[in-house]
Symmetry: C2
Subunit: 555 residues, 2 copies
């Protein structure tokens, strides 16, 4: 580490920035507070490491806080004003970590963009968000349109001459004169922090706005629930551009932990860090977790690692594989619920325990109550009626409270619909178990209506995934002349069984249907099985069922 | 455990209570949320144990939540309205734990009263707070005046026939009809939560009001910083009536931990629980910690226990003794600062490390920046100027932010003075070290002005406590014809040295002065040393220097 020679951290940063009207006993919640505190408490501790770049970078908390301050001043000098959007298009790297603090320190709204979108989709997001400035990694430059918007390119070198580094240096001139005291704290904690776009699997992507208060409280809960502390080391497997990295860019700093960024999901590289870098925590969707536990480099870990799993439910197979190599899975559903393992579960078989662990669980620390309600009777029906706690009646998950988004950006109609009944209507279909635990059955649009019955594609996938030859599986509806719809399964075989069934996929179909009939009702058993080499996925590893439906439509 | 047969927890509690004007993404911060969530996630887990009473009580989270709900309804039925004060006068026991939730669930303000005050002092607090109802333990009944205020006596039996239990039963009738949905959530998170009275060592006790928001955020920070989680077991050594138990009644429930209440600070009883009850955490002032490590029942602990130490700084001796038996001290200064041990400290000698650990540290998670400023130049001076970070210039600790009190109750003048310059002026004199660490030198009123120099009585005590024959020491100013003031030390000898110096205290005085001269400047060395059997203390174990000054005045 070669810390830049910087002036000592100015601890008087809170001296001026709040208006006199803010009372002594009120400080607006804002994740920027975490970084200032971490830099004060652990100035020399490694905050951010980017070890695998051509030019590795290692920043202590005091140096990183200085860089973030520089970024905030640079943005302000470039004309960014409170409430403006600043886009960032980059793989996991210091710039996007900086942006999670520097942009909100400038009182602007961070707009992270998925690097795996097409140029057309990115152009739409830049236009819709009206971003005033774009921070772009050199490898993503070809993805953005010719634009008049100020664009700062980062070559990820952390050296002078890199345009991003020069941009920081420009901010530095002002920051060294004025310090944190020159940066006003946003007095309204309900102001917008981040504008993230949905993956847009159906129609145009929607812009989800979250507040500073919500980000602060979600990050605190994530640090607490994942037991991240100042001795922890977090590996960035999840792309940070996805939903503000599930708020972990802030949670790690709240906890004064070390963060390691790697530019892509590369399993041998992940294993290198799991084995040698003292990693204690990482996040990932089940499909990425599957990649990790099936990689050739895998080895039992000496020190326990916690894996936060979200996006979809982990299968029994995956839970078992993670635990066998010393990775403890923590299954969460946004920062809304978490599956809390109960003391009594230790006496259960792994399969029974995994079934319980696959449920989404109960309300998260700092989140409010989660409910499952009947669908509306008509479009303007505002009444929310809870489904019985019977583990079988399917309703929609709704929630409210500080962690809920503020609004869909520039879409009051979509916001109004999403906030039906004074709750956020998640679009996830679920049951409520007698113990108050929520279990997602499907996204509204993924349910299969087979012979008048609602078949949950997720429930079918979880049962099929128990077949020992299956690596991954996805199930969608396929039109059927008699039953209206029937499930069709797309299956990836485990490498060691690919040869077994080569040239004989029809026999595997028979075998899998036999497996399904013993576990699923007839209407939920797959009518068709197709063995494939890979499944279409989003950047975060979510399977794109829209793409599978397009394949089905052509059959 | 014999859980009362109760209806299942109503999870729709958030359905009605908030006014329509509260947006979907806002829930007013309130510690009551913790209990409802804990009862949902861990309904059958032991929440509150009171094992040593004649009638032991053990409440699971669902049963306890039901009792708290009953208390809230009982208070409302008894005429308690939002903002009313409800006093509680009890040793650590289920009733005072209930009150920390039930009173705020009824939107009233909890007023805990120190059980070791005199009847006159208690009468003053009841009158000043205008308490509308008093919850009183049977052993404290003689302390309260004849009054028209509704008084509910608790015999700590947890059985029908106990007036407190009958009071809960009266509330139960309403609670079973309406559940949590019948209890409005306080929509204003800046509403008052607790009214605690200062010990009043100088003049009348002042009423300190804290907010729901501040209580929520302080409790979250305490759980996070102390690493309390759902596997933790917290032993109530600190009296819960003291400053709302440093917010731990809520912190433990946020973390879904188990709490054990014991009615008095009884060292063999504390050791019984440390050794046999799976205790992982407790809080206590240094004097109580000294009692614990010097008790005859002490044994090395198999499982690590964290001791949160506050009130005054732990000495090197104490830190060493705690660590030797497996207790990890965590030194905090309110929920404002904590002494964060640095990785580099492991290579230091115990004495050097203890010196660093005796400092009050840096800002706590969820707290804001702490500053040390020069005293005001004149009464209306609102300007706050930081002292240099030199570790020697003495100023006053000031802070602001969400954890700071709301006001002194019915005392706008005292509030105005305390909030000089838009910060809370703590009255604690301290230095700021070059590493941004605060170290308290003294309370303003405890500083000794010796030959024109400011001598910190705390600093003198820490050095004298290093003498191997000393168990406890307190230093106050004594008038001196030449030097204006000089330090006088009151000393308790360790039991094994009492005999050594019996009848020869003058020789010990010579010995201690020799020890002091090698470590302290002349103006700070004690001019007089008096060996005593015990020191006057507040209920929380703080030494009452006012009482020592009275002794000095008579010399």
């Amino acid at each position: 580490m070669t810390p830049d020679s910087i002036p000592p951290l100015d601890v008087s940063y809170l001296q001026n920035p709040l208006p006199d009207s803010v009372p002594v006993n009120h400080h607006p919640l804002n994740p920027i507070s975490y970084l200032l505190r971490a830099a004060l408490v652990y100035p020399d501790k490694l905050a951010l490491a980017h070890p695998d770049a051509e030019q590795p970078a290692f920043y202590s908390y005091s140096v990183w806080a200085q860089r973030v301050q520089n970024l905030a001043y640079a943005l302000i000098q470039a004309g960014i004003r409170p409430g403006d959007r600043v886009a960032v298009l980059a793989p996991n790297s210091p710039m996007i970590a900086d942006a999670h603090f520097g942009v909100i320190a400038a009182r602007a709204i961070l707009t992270p963009i998925n690097t795996r979108l097409t140029p057309l989709e990115i152009a739409y997001i830049l236009e819709h968000s009206e971003a005033k400035l774009i921070l772009v990694d050199h490898e993503c430059l070809h993805l953005i349109p010719h634009t008049n918007v100020t664009t700062i390119v980062c070559h990820d070198t952390s050296k002078p001459g890199d345009p991003y580094e020069d941009f920081l240096s420009a901010g530095r001139k002002f920051s060294s004169e004025r310090g944190w005291a020159g940066l006003d704290v946003e007095p309204n904690e309900h102001a917008s922090a981040v504008l993230c776009y949905t993956s847009g699997t159906t129609g145009r992507p929607k812009g989800v706005i979250t507040t500073l208060r919500g980000s602060y409280l979600a990050a605190v809960a994530n640090a607490f629930e994942a037991r991240i502390n100042h001795e922890s080391c977090y590996l960035w497997v999840l792309p940070m551009f996805h939903a503000a990295g599930w708020t972990f860019p802030w949670a790690n700093v709240f906890a004064c932990a070390t963060q390691i960024t790697i530019r892509q999901v590369d399993y041998p590289q992940i294993w290198k860090h799991l084995l040698n870098s003292g990693v204690t925590h990482y996040c990932g969707a089940p499909t990425v977790q599957i990649g990790i536990v099936n990689d050739a480099s895998k080895q039992p870990l000496r020190n326990p690692v916690s894996a936060i799993v979200a996006g979809s439910a982990p299968t029994a197979q995956l839970i078992s594989q993670l635990e066998q190599i010393g990775i403890k899975p923590v299954h969460t559903y946004g920062p809304f619920t978490r599956c809390y393992d109960q003391p009594t579960w230790t006496s259960l078989s792994l399969e029974d325990r995994a079934k319980l662990m696959a449920r989404q669980g109960q309300s998260f620390a700092t989140a409010e109550n989660v409910r499952v309600v009947y669908p509306p009777k008509h479009e303007d029906d505002q009444e929310l009626i809870d489904v019985p706690k019977d583990g079988s009646t399917v309703g929609e998950i709704v929630t409210r409270g500080n962690i809920v988004m503020k609004e869909y950006f520039k879409d009051p109609e979509a916001t109004r619909k999403a906030f039906r009944g004074g709750y956020f209507n998640s679009g996830d279909l679920a049951v409520m178990h007698p113990d108050g635990v929520v279990q997602i059955m499907d996204r509204k649009k993924d349910i299969i209506i087979s012979g008048g019955e609602n078949a949950s594609s997720l429930a079918i996938e979880l049962e099929l995934a128990n077949h020992p030859h299956i690596l991954e599986v996805s199930v969608v509806a396929r039109p059927h002349p008699k039953w209206d719809e029937r499930p069709m399964a797309f299956v990836i075989l485990r490498p060691q069984y690919v040869q077994t069934w080569a040239g004989n996929h029809a026999a595997f179909e028979v075998e899998l249907k036999r497996h399904a009939r013993t576990r699923l009702p007839g209407f939920a058993s797959p009518e068709w099985v197709q063995v494939v080499d890979k499944l279409p996925k989003t950047s975060t590893g979510k399977i794109l069922k829209t793409d599978l439906r397009k394949i089905v439509a052509k059959l």
